[in-house]
C-alpha cells in the first residue's frame, strides 16, 4: 500500500484544461484539513485529546457540514459532465443526512447532559449509551455511513456506473487528496461513534484506556467495512427519501424515547 502511495505521489499533477484549477486543487486539500480537525477533537484516553473544547460534539458535527460544499466545488471545477453530476448527487446525499445525524447525537446529549466529548465518555461509566440509545445509535451509524459516501450509499462514486463520479478527473497526487478525506472520515466517525455510544476509552483497567478506545474503534471500522459487502447499492431517490422522511422521523422518535428515559423514569 505504501508503494502505491509513493508511486501516486510521483505521477504528474494533471489538471484538465478548461477546468477551474483553483477549486480543483483546493477542494480536496481542504477536505484533508477538515479530516485532521475532526480527529483532533476525539478523546482517545483521559489525557490524550488534542482539542478539549467545551462544545466538542457540535464542533465535530459542524465541521462535517463543511464537506458537502467541498464536494460540490470539486465536482463543478472539473468542468465536465460526469464529475459535476456526481458532485451534485454527493451534495444532495450528504446534505440530506446531516439532520438525522444532528438529531441522533441530540439523544446522547440529553442523556449525558454535556456537550464536552471527554465528559460524555465519563458519563458512560455507569453504562454505555448504546443500550438506552439503541435506536439513536442505529440512526447515527446509518447516517454516518451515508455521509462518508461508502457502500451501500455509494452512488456518487459508483465505479461501474458513472466512472467514479465526482472524482473521475483526479489523478496522481490529487487522487490521494480526493480519496484521503473518505478514509479519514471513516476513522473520525468510527471514533466518534465509539466515544458517544460505546464508552470511548472506558474499560477494565488491566489494559490501558488507549487500547480500549482503539479496539472499539477498530470494531466499528470493521463493521462499516463489512456493510460494504453485505448490502446492494441504494438508488439515489430511495436514499434521499429515506434520509428526509424515514430517518428523520426515527430520530425524532428517538428524542421522544430519550426524553422519557431521562425525565420520565426518575419521576415515576
Amino acid at each position: 500500500m505504501f508503494a502505491d502511495l509513493i508511486k501516486l505521489s510521483f505521477k504528474e499533477l494533471f489538471v484538465p484544461e478548461n477546468s477551474d484549477a483553483f477549486f480543483f486543487i483546493m477542494a480536496p486539500t481542504t477536505g484533508l484539513v477538515i479530516g485532521a480537525a475532526l480527529v483532533g477533537l476525539i478523546p482517545f484516553a483521559p489525557g490524550i485529546q488534542i482539542a478539549n473544547i467545551e462544545v466538542g460534539l457540535p464542533a465535530f458535527l459542524a465541521i462535517i457540514t463543511l464537506s458537502p460544499s467541498l464536494v460540490l466545488l470539486a465536482g463543478w471545477s472539473a468542468n465536465s459532465k460526469f464529475p459535476f453530476i456526481g458532485g451534485l448527487r454527493a451534495l444532495f446525499q450528504q446534505t440530506a443526512y446531516e439532520i438525522p445525524l444532528w438529531l441522533s447525537a441530540l439523544g446522547v446529549i440529553m442523556m449525558a447532559g454535556t456537550l464536552n466529548l471527554a465528559q460524555i465518555v465519563a458519563a458512560q461509566s455507569t453504562g454505555w449509551f448504546i443500550i438506552p440509545q439503541a435506536l439513536g445509535a442505529f440512526i447515527f451509524l446509518v447516517t454516518s455511513v451515508a455521509e462518508m459516501e461508502r457502500l451501500p450509499f455509494d452512488l456518487p462514486e459508483a465505479e461501474s456506473e458513472i466512472m467514479m463520479g465526482w472524482q473521475a478527473e483526479y489523478t496522481g497526487v490529487l487522487f490521494l487528496a480526493a480519496q484521503g478525506p473518505g478514509f479519514v472520515k471513516l476513522y473520525a466517525f468510527s471514533a466518534l461513534f465509539t466515544t458517544i455510544y460505546l464508552g470511548g476509552f472506558l474499560g477494565p483497567s488491566f489494559l490501558p484506556p488507549l487500547f480500549w478506545m482503539l479496539l472499539k474503534t477498530l470494531v466499528i471500522i470493521v463493521l462499516i467495512m463489512l456493510l460494504r459487502s453485505t448490502f446492494p447499492r441504494v438508488r439515489l431517490d430511495q436514499l434521499l427519501r429515506a434520509g428526509w422522511t424515514t430517518l428523520l422521523t426515527l430520530a425524532i422518535v428517538n428524542i421522544g424515547i430519550t426524553y422519557l428515559l431521562v425525565v420520565g423514569l426518575p419521576t415515576f
Partner: protein, 164 residues
C-alpha cells in the same frame, strides 16, 4: 496573542467580504463569502461565544454557502458586470459608512463598556441553554413556526409543474 488573532480574523473577514462582492465569477464570490463567515466565526470565538461560533460555521458555511453555490451553478455563470452610472448612490453609501465610522470614535470613550477579561456568567453554556429555553421559550416556538413557513415557501417556489 489575542491582539494578533483579532487582527488576523478581522483582516481575513474584511478582505474576503470585499472579494465576495467584487469577484467577477460568482463561484469565487461565494467561496470568498464562506471565508468571510469563517472570519466572523473566529471573531465569535475570540469573544467567548464558542457555541454560537460553531453554529455560525454549521449554518452559514455549511448551509447558506451550499445553497448559494447550488443556485449559482443552476442559474448559470454571469461573467462580470458592466459598471453602472450610479455615482450618486455609491456616494450616498460612502457618506453613510463614514458617518457610522465617525460614531466609532464617540463610542471609544464610552465608559459603560470597559470590557472584562473574564466572562463569568455571561458566556456560560448552561446559562445560555436555560435562558434560551426558559426566558425565550415562546420566541423559540415562534421561530420553529417561521422555519416551517420558510421551508414550505421554498418548496412551493421551486416546484416545477411536471405535468401529470
Amino acid at each position: 496573542m489575542t491582539d494578533l488573532l483579532f487582527l488576523a480574523f478581522a483582516a481575513v473577514t474584511i478582505g474576503a467580504a470585499i472579494l465576495a462582492i467584487e469577484a467577477r465569477d460568482l463561484v469565487y464570490g461565494a467561496a470568498a463569502l464562506g471565508i468571510a463567515f469563517l472570519g466572523v466565526a473566529g471573531l465569535f470565538f475570540l469573544l467567548d461565544a464558542a457555541y454560537v461560533g460553531w453554529f455560525q460555521i454549521a449554518v452559514y458555511i455549511g448551509a447558506v454557502v451550499v445553497l448559494i453555490l447550488f443556485t449559482v451553478m443552476l442559474v448559470g455563470p454571469k461573467m462580470g458586470e458592466t459598471p453602472l452610472g450610479l455615482k450618486r448612490v455609491s456616494l450616498l453609501a460612502a457618506i453613510l459608512v463614514s458617518l457610522l465610522l465617525g460614531m466609532t470614535g464617540a463610542l471609544a470613550n464610552a465608559t459603560a463598556f470597559p470590557g472584562q477579561d473574564s466572562c463569568g456568567s455571561g458566556c456560560d453554556l448552561y446559562l445560555l441553554s436555560t435562558s434560551l429555553l426558559k426566558n425565550y421559550g415562546v420566541q423559540l416556538e415562534f421561530m420553529s413556526l417561521v422555519m416551517a413557513a420558510a421551508v414550505i415557501g421554498a418548496l412551493v417556489l421551486s416546484k416545477t409543474d411536471r405535468g401529470q
